[in-house]
Each structure stands twice: as structure tokens, then as C-alpha cells.
């Protein structure tokens, strides 16, 4: 059993650093750290699904799309309070996640990956069809404008809240059920766990997290939602972030989110990798390396290091 104090210390340190960054960094760089916060939420959500119940999804960009458009459309049409739209995104994506999770019950492994991939490619095309309501290629602009600092504070506050929520869920009965499902579905059923309920629930929660991330994503993009923002690459970024993160470690998720969120802007100044697609080379190479060398991600690395220092 890990002692709780070091965990609290690391959380406190992270919180302190995050809170002080806006005073230290330029406005532009603050917006970069916001991206990390957004991916933190998305990667955390995917971690809950894949890490804890073993169901793969290459489609979380679709949920981000739904969440993002919820915020943009509600703001444009009804001037809804932006925080309220984020709550709506959470709720709507939770329901959509349940709906996706239901048929997903019958699919496993590669099939589920395939279906979620197709979902991720299809959902962002829907605004092109219903363009009068969803803006088409012209996109949807929120009516309220928010500053970089506002998005930063809201993104990291949401990250903190959702992190605590995840911790509460995962240490309780639901979390134990999730882990049982992942480790052995047969044993789980044998011990009376209603598989469909928990597997679908995991999808719902995971999607809800991605929905909130999507809302923030749009707000960070000058409040502008457009279909290409949620192209397949976004889903792949989240998956890569989760693979790098590994399972069950705050630091892992932070590193995974920072890797995915910061690499595009950090690399744009570097020669060779600097071109917009040089970063794709790094992303792709990174996830392959992680799978080959470090399959449990940063979390696994930390666990191993801890194990080494203990011994």
C-alpha cells in the first residue's frame, strides 16, 4: 500500500506550480500551458476507459467535438454562461458515451478500435451536413470572449475537480469493478459484477471527460468551433497521451498531457522537427517507442523507480 503523504505532497507541488505560472509566464505561454490542462482532462478520461476497463477507444475526438460544439452553439444562440455549457457538455457526452458503450459491449479489442476510429472520422463531418445550425465549414463562434487567463484558470480548476472525481470513483466500488473487468471478465461475471453496467458506465464517464475537454478546447481557440479542429488526429493525440501516461499516476497523466499538448508549439521553433509535420514524426515515434520499451508508460516507469529506491 502506497503511503498517502508523498501522493499529497506531489499533488500540492503540482497545484502550487500551476497556480504560480500565470505570474511568471507571458500571456502567450500561459495559453500553451492551458493546452496541457485540456489534454490532461481528455487523457485522464481515456485512461479510465482503457486503463481501468481495458476497452480501447480511438474515438475520443468525437466526444470532444460534441462537447466543443455544445459550448459554441449554446453560447452563440442563447448566450448561456460558459461554465454552464461545460456542465452541459459533460452531461450530453456522458449520455452519448453510454450510447456508444452499449453496442461496444459486443465488440472486443481490434473491432472496438475500428468502430471508434470510424466514429472519430464521422462525427466531425456532421456539422458540414447541418450547416445552418452547426455552422458548416464556417464554424461556430461563441458570443462571449474570454481571456487567455480565464481559460487557463477554468481549465486547470476543471482538471483538479475531475482528477479528484476520478480518484473517488476509482477507489470505490465502481473502481474495483472496473479493475475486475479489466483483469478477467470471466472472474468478474463469476463474482456477480454486472459487466454491461460497468463497461458502459466507463464509456460514459470517459466520454464526459472528453466532452469537458472539448468545451475548453473551443474556448482556448478564441471560442471558435470548426469541424477540422476535431479531425482524426485529435483522437490519435489523446491515445498517444494515454499510452505515454500509463496507468494510475498523476505524474504519468501530466507528462502524457504535457507531451501531447506542448509538442506542437515547442517544436515549431526547432529546426528539422520544426515543420508542422516534423512533430508528427516525434509523436508517432514516441508512441511506438513507448509500446516497445515502456509499455506501462510514465506511470510504469515511476512505479519501477519507486520499486528500485525501496529495495
Amino acid at each position: 500500500m502506497r503511503s498517502r503523504i508523498p501522493a499529497l505532497v506531489s499533488i500540492a507541488v503540482v497545484a502550487a506550480v500551476i497556480s504560480s505560472l500565470p505570474f511568471v509566464l507571458s500571456d502567450y505561454n500561459v495559453s500553451l500551458v492551458t493546452q496541457v490542462g485540456i489534454f490532461f482532462i481528455a487523457v485522464l478520461g481515456l485512461d479510465i476507459l482503457t486503463g481501468y476497463t481495458g476497452q480501447i477507444s480511438i474515438g475520443h475526438g468525437a466526444f470532444m467535438c460534441i462537447g466543443g460544439y455544445t459550448t459554441a452553439v449554446m453560447s452563440r444562440d442563447h448566450n448561456t454562461n460558459l461554465i454552464v455549457t461545460m456542465l452541459m457538455a459533460f452531461a450530453i457526452c456522458f449520455v452519448v458515451g453510454l450510447l456508444v458503450g452499449l453496442p461496444a459491449l459486443r465488440l472486443s479489442g481490434a473491432y472496438l478500435a475500428l468502430v471508434t476510429f470510424a466514429l472519430a472520422v464521422s462525427v466531425p463531418l456532421l456539422p458540414l451536413k447541418w450547416s445552418s445550425f452547426l455552422g458548416g465549414r464556417n464554424g461556430v463562434q461563441t458570443s462571449q470572449t474570454v481571456s487567455n487567463l480565464w481559460v487557463y484558470v477554468v481549465a486547470w480548476t476543471a482538471s483538479a475537480i475531475l482528477f479528484v472525481l476520478a480518484w473517488l470513483i476509482l477507489r470505490g466500488r465502481v473502481g474495483r469493478a472496473f479493475r475486475a473487468v479489466r483483469d478477467s471478465e470471466i472472474a468478474a461475471v463469476a463474482s456477480g459484477i454486472e459487466l454491461p453496467v460497468y463497461k458502459t458506465l466507463a464509456f460514459g464517464i470517459s466520454a464526459a471527460y472528453a466532452g469537458v475537454a472539448g468545451s475548453l478546447f473551443v474556448l482556448a481557440n478564441n471560442g471558435f468551433a470548426a469541424p477540422d479542429e476535431f479531425a482524426i488526429f485529435l483522437s490519435l493525440q489523446i491515445l498517444i497521451g494515454a499510452a505515454v501516461a500509463g496507468l494510475g499516476s498523476l505524474w504519468g497523466v501530466l507528462v502524457g498531457a504535457a507531451f501531447v499538448g506542448l509538442l506542437p508549439s515547442v517544436s515549431s521553433g526547432v529546426p528539422v522537427i520544426g515543420s508542422a509535420h516534423g512533430q508528427d514524426v516525434v509523436f508517432g515515434a514516441a508512441v511506438i517507442l513507448v509500446m516497445l520499451v515502456l509499455p506501462d508508460g510514465v506511470a510504469g516507469l515511476i512505479a519501477r523507480l519507486r520499486g528500485m529506491t525501496r529495495a
Binding site: A110, Y111, K129
Partner: protein, 343 residues
Amino acid sequence: MATAESSRLESLRNRGAALGGGGGTPIVIVILVGVAIFLLVGSLRSVTFAQLTVQGLALGAVYGSLALALVLVYRATRVVNFAQGELAMLTTYIAYQLIKWGLSYWEAFFATLAIALVLGIVLELALIRPVLHRSVIAAVIVTVGLFVLIDGVVNWIWGGDFKFMPSPFGTKIYHVGGVSIARLYVGMFVVVIISVLLVWALFRFTKLGLGMRAAALRPAEAAFVGVRVEWMLAIGWGLAALLGAVAGLMAEPSQFTLEPTLMQPILVYAFAAAVLGGLDSPAGAVIGGLLIGVSLNLVVQYGHIGPLKITSELQTPAAFAVIVAVLLFKPSGLFGHQEVRRV
């Protein structure tokens, strides 16, 4: 225990049938014949219908080729290769580069097929095999990484703007009874079908092919009789890459330009084709591809679900709907085999 035994026997029997390459029930055959008649009659009655059908068959051949690549990989290693499309695109760029360096189109074409074969083998040995021991999902994630990596490499080396490749089939248009058929479309269809038939012949009539089938379906027994299973799986990936290269090389002239996004829309259609045909059925993949190609073309013109007109932005969601429908109602697809899923 008794039920477990009999279901194992059932699955073994089905696998045995698979060795013969096929497994479509009579109903499926009847439906397909019906579809063919429908297309023929429609084409005779309407020039537009015929035009769209021809286009659809040509595109469908490309989808089928990529779908067949997916099926080969799946049969060999149970992995859905998300990078199949990008690999196909990469090999097309390699052909482009060879032509720029002075080769003629067809010299570059065959050289590229050889390079694709080697590339597929190397990828399987270097990246997939080490991870496959752990889990299929890990291998799938590696293919996702490959997707992103290859996209980045191509953009990095060749740039993300348009390139122009010489067309292998020229610009001639045939006029058959009022219907304009581009030689390009005929060429696309013929090249893909020839490639598919050659690969089929390889599997059916050669010792290598027998070894590959055995390695995929009964690896333990195959190893016992001296088949080098690991190599067979790698060659399966190599052939898949080769078929992907054919798909890419035929897709490019249909779009008149070469850019890195060439295969991205096609990948989803290939997935739909493979699922529709059955992820473990090679014949199903090709037929699925043709079906998807033709129906997507026709539906954009004639498709209405009540007030909803199926316009082009709904083509990919339609393919997604096909995937979901098949997996929900007949997961083994038209020609595939029921997998006994243990839970």
C-alpha cells in the same frame, strides 16, 4: 463442458472450411447476384446511373485492394492495421520519387511493389512482433503510432503540397452507348483485379501460400510440420503492404494529384469493406470494396432517407453506419466465420 467441446469442434470445422478460402452461404450469393442484376438494369436504363456505377466500381476496386490488405494482416496476426492506408500512401510517394529519378511509370510501379513487400516484412518483424506477444491492443496502438509517424515522414520529406505524377492510363475516354468511360477507370479496375487474382493464386497454388494459410490458422501444427510460422506472418504483412501499394498507385491517378491525405478517406471505406465482407475473408474484402464503392457513388445521387438527402459529407458517416450495422447484426460479415468469443 460438453457445450465447450462442441463449440470448439464447430470452430475447428469452420476454420477447415476457411482453408479452402470462402464460406459464403447461399443467401449471400443470391443477394449479390441480385445486386449485380440491379446495377446492370439500372445502367441500361439511365446514363447517369451507368456513369456512377462505372466510377463506383473503379473506386471500389481500390477500396477492395486496401480492404484485402487489412484482411491479410488480420488473418495473419489478428491485428487491425490502422497504418495500412498511410503505408499505401508512402509507397505511392516512393513511386513518385522513382519516376522523378528517371524510371518509367511501369518500372517504378513494379519496383515500388517490391519495396512495399520488403517494407511490410520489416515493419512486422521490427515493430509488431515484439509487441504482439504482449497483447493485440498494444500492436494496434503501434499501428496508430505508425499512422502518425508515416504521415509526418512523408510531409517532412516531400512536403504537404500537391505533386503531379504521370497517369499510367492517359486521358482517353471511351464512349459506349452514350456512357463515357474513362480509360483510367478501366485501368484501375483491371490492375486491382489482376493483383488480387495473383495474390489468390499465390495462396491457393503455391507451397508458400499453403504455408502462410497454415501459419495463420493452425500455427502450432504448422510449426510442427516445419513451417516457419514467424516468417509466414511477416510475409503476410509484406503482401498486405504490396496490395496497399497497388491501392495507392491506383487511387492517385483518380485524384489527378498526389498529396499526403490521399489514402485517409479511403481507409474508412476499406474498413467498412473489410467488415462487410468479413475481416477474415479475402474474397469478402474485395466484394465488400466493390459494394461500398458503387453504393457510395449511387447514394450521393439517389440517396434519400425521407427528407434527408445523403450528400457527400455523409459518405463517411454512412460507411461508419455500415460498420456498426454489420458488427451488430452479422459480425462475421457476408463471407466471414463466426468467431467463438469466450467470455
